[in-house]
């Protein structure tokens, strides 16, 4: 039967905030219910650091220092996503990249032929300019596969917690 099992691969985009862990929980639920492969990507935003270096606000040492911080954050977030997935018997492939966030996330979605890209709730733009430059917005607009924007903290926690620990 042609059903949701046609969804074979799910890519979840993890940002550097607590909210993205909720997004990961929802992606774990989806992967488990659809029996899909789960991939989680975190992109170290080196472009913003290079821009600050170019603007002369940063010196080279700061650029490297902050890149190291971001990479450490990325590893921690991805480790946590792995724990969330494993706790529910879901295998996850974690991917840590460096560069321009929206470019690498949408590129990875194409590369693994993701059937769904799961991402966190978009921030309220304060100006039209934000709509063009916010990385979340750019992922949403630039992806070529269906994009699922995760909302509703309480419901997600319920779904995740309600999932039996092991298959």
């Amino acid at each position: 039967m042609a059903n949701a099992r046609g969804i074979k691969r799910i890519l979840v985009s993890i940002g550097g905030n607590e909210r993205s862990l909720l997004t990961a929980q929802y992606a774990v639920v989806l992967a488990r219910l659809l029996d899909a492969e789960l991939y989680a990507i975190y992109v170290v935003d080196t472009k913003i650091l290079k821009d600050l270096l170019k603007a002369r606000i940063f010196i080279r040492m700061e650029e490297l220092n902050y890149a190291r911080d971001f990479e450490g954050d990325g590893k921690r977030y991805l480790d946590y996503v792995r724990d969330l997935a494993e706790a529910k018997g879901v295998a996850v492939t974690t991917i840590l990249e460096k560069g321009e966030v929206h470019t690498l996330v949408t590129q990875k979605a194409r590369e693994i032929e993701a059937d769904i890209l799961v991402m966190g709730e978009l921030f309220n733009p304060s100006s039209r300019r934000d709509c063009y430059y916010d990385e979340g917005e750019r992922i949403f607009r630039g992806a070529r596969c269906p994009v699922l924007v995760v909302k509703g903290e309480e419901r997600i926690r319920e779904l995740y917690e309600g999932l039996e620990p092991e298959k």
Partner: protein, 154 residues
């Protein structure tokens, strides 16, 4: 990270007493101290001056962005000072500085810190905005100008 999320009129000062880099940094720190945002005043001044010693944060267009990552603050904090008088902040274009955005963050807040700096960099490209800010007569008016620029629909 919008500046108006970090600033309030209370964290903005129009007119500066000092004319040298250390004095300016001390006044920027004092604004935060008065707002109860600093755990260790001496450490904050020291960390900021240590960063300046590695390379001046005096940019072009009369803007300077002194900043540091330090345990002297508990959260990402920002103050702004505007000086009608010329200040030598060792700017990259050799010209005097008038607008000083000061940012300090604890070690665990790299993401928001970088985003706030990127926002300042973007705002600092707009000459009309900088002219307005430099001429702002009160902290309230300076805050309004920043808020207007950050929500401008273009």
């Amino acid at each position: 990270m919008l500046l108006t999320d970090l600033l309030t009129p209370r964290l903005i000062k129009i007119g500066l007493r000092s004319r040298d880099k250390l004095g300016i940094v001390e006044e920027l720190v004092e604004i935060l101290v008065n707002a109860g945002k600093v755990a260790d005043r001496g450490l904050l001044v020291e960390a900021t001056m240590a960063r300046e010693a590695q390379g001046s944060t005096g940019l072009a267009r009369g803007v300077a962005v002194p900043h540091c990552k330090t345990d002297a603050v508990r959260e990402l904090t920002c103050s702004l000072a505007v000086s009608p008088s010329d200040i030598d902040f060792e700017a990259i274009d050799g010209k005097p500085s008038h607008i000083f955005f000061f940012l300090a963050a604890p070690p665990g807040m790299s993401g928001p810190h970088v985003k706030a700096l990127a926002n300042i960099a973007k705002l600092s490209e707009n000459d009309a905005f900088l002219d307005g800010l430099r001429l702002a007569p009160t902290p309230e008016e300076a805050f309004r100008i920043i808020s207007e620029e950050e929500t401008r629909a273009d």
